[in-house]
Symmetry: C2
Subunit: 370 residues, 2 copies
């Protein structure tokens, strides 16, 4: 635990998600969970609740609760079971039950301490408890730091589809303590790298080249490399979200790889593959579909596949068969009137959202998921 | 069914809830559910779903589905069990399951055909399905027409508290067909009158006097009287909601009688008393508390009690005992840091939200709930 309380190696950096009166800071740095000033600007409500899971809470909850008791009269911990399989109604109700038993009110601040599941689920609880209370994201996984904690998408899974039930509800702050990445299992680190890899192809060719050049350094958990990856990912996400908070258009590009990825997660049952693993494989499939449709050349698609493979992520998908694949993808939230919309590449650094002929999709699936 | 399809006796009237890009019309009139132009402005999505219950659907669903098939390629009906006891997770999931099985997407329009339970629950389903889809309120009870269908409060109950889980999600239109009030059971009509009676004391002394003068006419279901009651109630609600959509302040006055009323509903188990019955009794208690605190005189409190009694609503509450009463009311969403906030009267026509000494609250409860 000493890492959490140690003084920061370098000063924290702050980005801003510019959304008018819903704007909020993303603070990125070492040791942030142990510093009182990380929480500047968070409402000092009488009561507060830290929502975490049985894996993360033992690592970080005790000193955090101690620190938050300087801000709130009463702070309680709610521990959820760990894993994507628990991102459901039953677990959400554990949060509501806890809030009601504590007498939480409309001012009570929720803190989401953990990875994407804890953040998405706590965010949805905050969105819907008494029709909305403030919450803070304290992401402890690479995936949550570079993606899911930023932008206000919250929700839970339905057996038929990922994140089907949820809300747009922006946090009042995101505090990304890079020290927490030290305790991250290797598999989780690699899954997080999938979302880092994502930002280059959709928005920033130079960042993609940087990711290619620094992948081994990132896998070795070099603090400077991780800091840059988190900061640049959050910068790109912040720009996109500020332009299209509720995904009327542009924001959908952040779902590169997710149409295929969500289908894998739902088709295998949540928790079989990590979300980042599905996204990694999904990016390979989406890049190949882009090439097959003549939007990019095979070299560009090959760069995506090679980088995903180097990150230790799957580049071949499950063999559901074409019909089942299409059925699963038709439940994607981007689909309209039964037509699946894919995030495709027009170049490394530029994405487009469009439909694709079933035959082309099937051909990609036959090549990669046999 | 002929009443629904009959030509309107008088032209429909349209009010507007002014909320910028979330503004929407409330259409009030006879025969509206049978007229295509009632739905002007509602998006013509490929798929649509009518959510209703086993009581209302047999009365109005068939012709409505027929009419909506002129607007949407596919229209399906989801029938829920009837009653406040079903305004819960289990029933909400019936809606989600239905939407997913139908392949509903982000453009799918939901129509809430029924009373307050159907409207609140369907609204919350619309707020959270794929993080938000459009919905239309088709209120078929007096209570829903004058109150719950307007203003975007949606939600479900938790065993520990009324409407504890929900969202602010504005409908794209409210279509109040006055003909549906003809099939309303007497008990439901009286429960709806509680919310009509509410608007006078909190905002409009003249309307309160009109309600006193016309109560018997309303109980006799006179169309002109009902039309005026619905229109004036919606006008007052529209003004309040436009000023304070998310209940940061003013909007709380619409909860006159609800702090006591919700406690009765939760304490007895949902469905034992109708919501309007709880509100009726709650207004009597709140008016007496106002008088006890010297905010109004006994005559004013007496006028409220007499009108509630004339409407056939309960003016005495259950005997939970003072401790249990206070415990139930501390879960009210207006409470902060364990302090209960009441909507009290400073005059007939003017409300204020404030705390009250426990001793005064207990005295009122002892007088009225023994």
């Amino acid at each position: 635990m000493s890492a959490v309380l140690a003084p920061p190696a370098t000063p924290a950096e702050t980005l801003t998600i510019a959304l008018g009166d819903r704007s909020y800071p993303i603070r990125i740095g070492e040791g942030l969970l142990g510093r009182a000033d990380s929480f500047d600007g968070v409402p000092r409500s009488a009561t507060a609740v830290v929502v975490s899971n049985t894996t993360v809470a033992p690592l970080y909850a005790a000193p955090l609760l101690q620190l938050l008791k300087g801000r709130h009269r009463q702070v309680e911990l709610i521990e959820l079971p760990d894993g994507e399989a628990h991102k459901d109604w039953t677990t959400l109700n554990l949060v509501f039950d806890g809030l009601l038993k504590l007498g939480a009110d409309r001012k009570t601040v929720l803190y989401a301490l953990g990875g994407g599941v804890v953040g998405d689920l706590t965010g949805f609880a905050a969105a819907s408890y008494m029709r909305g209370v403030p919450f803070v994201q304290l992401p402890t996984t690479l995936l949550a730091q570079v993606d899911s904690s930023v932008g206000g998408k919250t929700g839970i899974n339905h057996p038929l589809g990922k994140n089907m039930i949820g809300a747009f509800h922006q946090p009042v702050a995101v505090i990304a303590d890079l020290d927490t990445l030290a305790t991250l299992p290797d598999r989780e680190l690699r899954a997080g790298l999938a979302e880092v890899i994502k930002y280059g192809p959709i928005a920033d060719a130079a960042f993609f080249a940087w990711t290619e050049a620094n992948l081994d350094t990132l896998l070795g958990r070099d603090p400077q490399a991780l800091r840059h990856a988190v900061r640049r990912s959050c910068e790109i996400k912040a720009e996109v979200v500020a332009q299209d908070e509720r995904e009327a258009g542009l924001r959908a590009i952040l779902n590169f790889g997710h149409t295929f990825g969500h289908a894998i997660e739902a088709g295998l049952g949540y928790g079989e593959w990590l979300h980042g693993e599905g996204v990694g494989c999904g990016m390979v499939l989406a890049a190949e579909l882009s090439a097959r449709l003549g939007l990019i050349d095979d070299d560009a698609a090959g760069r995506v596949a090679r980088l995903v493979e180097r990150a230790g992520l799957p580049v071949h998908g499950p063999n559901f068969g074409g019909d089942r694949w299409l059925e699963l993808m038709r439940l994607d939230k981007k689909a309209e009137g039964g037509e699946i919309k894919f995030v495709l590449l027009e170049a490394i650094g530029r994405a487009v959202v469009r439909a694709a002929p079933d035959a082309s999709v099937r051909a990609v699936l036959e090549a990669r998921c046999a």
